[in-house]
């Protein structure tokens, strides 16, 4: 491992940021497919130069790109995401039934063992899989066909399946997060699904402890402790230690527990990072100060990490896909903002520096340690 590659998705193109292991000087690529939205890019853990990218446009729909040289060149692959079987309905914002309509791919999760296999989480919420390097896609429709599917409803950003986690100790165990349906687990590679929402409380729901309807923003997992998950819900930071069977709140002393991103230190499974956002009506940090909060105790006790981050007049947001960590000895932490900045820390969040100031609004940041 001698360097780091950041795959940055923005509202107006993808960017590849590269550095050596010192992470002091960065090369910023030219825009890849400038003008297109890139909701997510992610590399295969077993073939890092194989990178999948979700490219979309309100005008031209969804397209998919694949690179086999770490983002230097791209090949357009399959973009036919057709729901399997009877389309059915979910709940619309006003509670009326609404047919499922494919809009875009929010998240790509390459297999942990096969570079040609990749999962895609889409809006309206569904899980797709490709086993031929993205050329063709088929829906794992038992998720959408879950008995609660007709009760799922969109969050403000649409009804998106934004988190896919593959248990590194059991590749048949999958977790997904859906805004605003909740969280689900499959123990049989997507054949059957179980809502895992016990312990979640969402006061805006008619039944705050309902099995579905929770606006889950992001779920993170450390590979060494696959039974433990950390969740940034719409409000509340949550934790489970039993694969989602029960959750408990770990917001502790956070100044606000609304936010989007959550991630775990590469070498310390009890060290967690969040970026608190003032409220769901004001999608920017409190008091104009951009602060990453770090807990080294698995939650509840949080410390503001501010050195190198703007501490006045800062009103950006950090979206759910826009934080990641590298696996170098001194764990690097990175996040991007809707203001187009990408920040990095090479000391586990103690100090931060800006890698690039002025990209288009950043939607996603994925890190490859190469």
């Amino acid at each position: 491992m001698s360097g780091v590659r950041l795959l940055v998705g923005t509202r107006k193109g993808a960017f590849i940021l590269t550095s050596d292991g010192r992470r002091e000087k960065w090369d910023v690529s030219a825009p890849q497919f400038g003008g297109w939205q890139f909701y997510h890019l992610k590399g295969s853990p077993v073939a890092p130069n194989r990178v999948y990218a979700s490219q979309s446009s309100d005008w031209f729909g969804q397209t998919m790109q694949r690179s086999d040289d770490g983002g230097k060149t791209w090949e357009t692959v399959g973009n036919k995401f057709l729901y399997d079987g009877i389309q059915g309905t979910h709940q619309w914002y006003d509670g009326t039934p609404h047919p499922w309509e494919f809009k875009r791919v929010w998240h790509l999760e390459p297999s942990l063992s096969d570079p040609d296999t990749v999962y895609a989480g889409v809006e309206d919420a569904a899980l797709f899989k490709s086993t031929d390097g993205g050329q063709t896609w088929h829906e794992l429709s038992h998720l959408r066909g879950h008995s609660t599917g007709s009760k799922w409803s969109p969050g403000a950003g649409g009804m998106c399946l934004h988190t896919i986690l593959i248990d590194p100790s059991n590749h048949n165990r999958l977790y997904v997060g859906i805004s605003a349906a909740g969280a689900f687990r499959s123990d049989d590679a997507g054949e059957t699904w179980k809502p895992i929402t016990k312990g979640l409380y969402s006061k805006y729901l008619p039944d705050p402890t309902s099995e579905v309807g929770h606006c889950v923003h992001r779920i993170a997992q450390h590979p060494s402790r696959p039974d433990t998950l950390f969740m940034q819900k719409h409000w509340d930071v949550m934790r489970t230690d039993d694969r989602g069977e029960s959750w408990h709140k770990i917001s502790g002393n956070l100044p606000t527990d609304f936010g989007f991103v959550i991630d775990v230190h590469a070498h310390e499974p009890e060290t967690v990072f969040v970026v608190p956002i003032k409220s769901d009506s004001e999608h920017y940090p409190m008091d104009g100060k951009l602060q990453v909060f770090r807990s080294r105790s698995g939650g509840n006790e949080w410390q503001a990490m501010t050195k190198g981050l703007p501490q006045k007049d800062c009103y950006v947001n950090v979206l759910r896909e826009a934080m990641d960590v590298d696996t170098l000895d001194e764990c690097g932490v990175y996040f991007g903002t809707t203001g187009g900045q990408v920040y990095g820390s090479t000391d586990g969040g103690e100090t931060w520096s800006v890698i690039v100031h002025d990209l288009p609004p950043v939607v996603s940041v994925e890190v490859q340690t190469i």
């Binding site: 297109w36 005008w59 031209f60 397209t63 357009t76 057709l82």
Partner: protein
Amino acid sequence: MVRVELPYHLRQLARVDHEVAVDVSGVVTAGAIIDALETRFPMLRGTIRDHATGQRRPFLRFFACEEDVSFAGLDAPLPEAVADGREPLTILGALAGG
């Protein structure tokens, strides 16, 4: 050959920097032109017509001989000047957004 003007994003996707020409056999319609385009440029599949419905994407319009032919239907014959290559079919994206 039928001439087609693509919007910037689709030229970028197809890796062309100018108007393209495609062979269309039979009656020249918007649907037949898109079929030919997608054969020559497979990366454009689904970007002009929605995969699920087969219909023109709502933020796109088709123009021929300075007339909006978007609502004539994909199977309607286009003007002779487009069919014989004197005029292009122009695919235009809505001028909106940030």
